[in-house]
Symmetry: C2
Subunit: 340 residues, 2 copies
DNA sequence: TTGTAGGCGTTATCAT
DNA sequence: ATGATAACGCCTACAA
């Protein structure tokens, strides 16, 4: 193994000079810089990560905590994980993968051992038990998702309220007056995460503003429950022409059921989905959908931990950032002007 | 931060004793062991990862290199990544996520800096350019996939030849005599990976053994190309009653097209797919399919790097293991007795 | 069974 | 602009 000392000897300078050439933390004459860089290449020197971490008290690693549950749509998770990794590299950081089966203990472990300088949490719950652990240790963290209490951490998430509003606007613009919002199972609206509620609120407010009549029905996302939900909607409000779906599992069934009940999409009924683009593209008809910028989620989260790590390293109190990313509505084939 | 020295002082022993209590590398009297463990808990001691890596010349980290391409079915990739992480933890290791946009350089970087003790490569190509890099540095590696030249590395993969044979057997058992094998686009059979060829060979050998008449047709996996492929198959061999599909994209179209041409599955035609279970379950009818044990892939790969790292650490030449995992055929609704 | 001491490769504080 | 040198926290051969 080639060490700093080897390079120093080869270049005829001291070890500290080599270190400074490499870190750029103090000015070096052009000539010695060249000599050192030369030696580095010739000897094939690569700094030792452990030694660096020990001396600099910084590992240049962030931990990414991923859920094991197939609870979320997996390709999206992967996309975020990759965007995090790529973004981290641009800051000279590597990413350590932590699965959530370790629970709050996993987060504690990597932070307290100095293995990671900071942590990024995916799949954050409203009252996430990992957050108190982070606060207690003063661990720098960015959350992808929005918990109840965000003190001591930075957060980034989609702006679900805006997403809901986009749906209402789009259908209103097309002349629809009676809308049904097919949501997740009722459990979701309390447990897990706040995005369901935030979406609904955004939709509701805008719908009222635009004078829409609407109803919200939770739905478990199976074929059967979707059938039940749709039947009830059509019984309660036979003139419903617009559907907003926020439930990956209910999309397919809903399209089939509408077709089965003689309603053609988009001529007789319009459907706008809140889901990833990849999903929206794979139905027939392809779905008009509201989607957030997935990769941004990862990029911003990295930015946030980096800011915190840097601040903390300088003895400054890191600021708790909160970023909500604006979603986009893409018109595809499942929405059209209201009938008549 | 609590250090070894702090614990030693608190327990009234020397630092080395604490170290040995923790590592178990030499016998300790029950009483001091208890005192030390006590102090560890009371003070909340956690060993510093950097210092440990530096002194022990072992980071207790393995790098997992994942492809960025949506080339592979993403949920499977994720499943492997997670099983790798879980398995690694059981060996006291953590997993560093490396994306393939760094190319061979990424692998070099983590190994040469001592950041990782070993490497696991996913999505291995036949003539993978990362492998020479690994060999050159003497990096311990396990590959998920089977390259041309496996010297200096360990490998684990599905036994695709066995998978192909399972398909042939199943259809032969059901009395089918004319089979069509719908494969990937012709490019795949040369480029990328060998599994397509291995599957085909396994199928072919067994099919001949069982006296089946069969043909193999590459297929791009779009609706159009599947339509073309099927039309050609039925023109060439109108009596074809069995289909083997190894092409995720062609499955949906194939089912639709068979239906469209008046062939009911499984009464008129049987379809067996080579694909992940999750996919097989989501079609109507649910597909009889051959699937390998995904999580095992990760677990075995971890086992293999661990073996290599341990051996190398003891100055022993690590042995190049090769494990092929036996796939399983699950009968679902898409296969039945041959007609007549 | 336990302690001592040197070293692992970098960083960063003092000097010069 | 450059050099010595003392940490950084842990491991482990060598002693006792």
């Amino acid at each position: 193994m080639v060490t700093l000392a080897d390079v120093a000897k080869h270049a005829g300078v001291s070890a500290s000079t080599v270190s400074y050439v490499l870190s750029g933390k103090r000015s070096i004459s052009a000539s010695t810089r060249r000599r050192v860089e030369q030696s580095v290449v010739e000897l094939g020197y690569h700094p030792n990560a452990g030694a660096r971490a020990l001396a600099a008290r910084r590992s240049h690693i962030v931990a990414l905590v991923v859920p094991l549950t197939a609870d979320v749509y997996v390709p999206i998770m992967m996309e975020i994980a990759i965007s995090v990794t790529v973004a981290a590299r641009q800051h000279g950081y590597d990413v350590l993968l932590i699965t959530n089966d370790e629970g709050p203990e996993g987060v504690r472990r990597v932070a307290v051992s100095g293995l990671a300088d900071g942590v990024i949490l995916m799949d954050v719950e409203l009252a996430d038990e990992r957050i108190p652990a982070l606060r207690a240790q003063g661990t720098q963290a960015a959350l992808i998702g929005l918990p109840d209490d965000t003190t001591g951490v930075s957060c980034v998430d989609h702006d679900f309220a805006a997403a809901g509003a986009l749906c209402a606007d789009h259908l209103a613009d097309l002349g629809h007056r009676e809308i049904a919002f097919i949501g997740y199972g009722s459990g979701i609206y309390h447990r897990h995460v706040g995005y369901a509620e935030r979406t609904l609120r955004g939709f509701r407010d805008r719908a009222e503003q635009r004078g829409l009549r609407f109803l919200h029905r939770p739905c478990e996302g199976t074929f059967e429950s979707t059938a039940g939900t749709l039947a009830r909607v059509l019984a309660d409000r036979p003139d419903t022409t617009g559907f907003v779906v926020q439930n990956e599992g209910a999309i397919g069934p809903l399209l089939n059921l509408l077709r089965g009940s003689g309603k053609t999409v988009p001529e007789d009924a319009s459907v706008v989905a809140l889901c990833p683009e990849q999903l929206a593209e794979q139905y027939a008809p392809r779905l008009t959908a509201v989607t957030g910028p997935t990769k941004e989620l990862g990029r911003v989260a990295v930015e946030q931990v980096m800011n915190r790590i840097t601040a903390a390293g300088q003895g400054i109190q890191p600021s708790d950032e909160l970023v909500l990313l604006t979603p986009v509505l893409t018109v595809r084939e499942s929405t059209g002007p209201a009938p008549r």
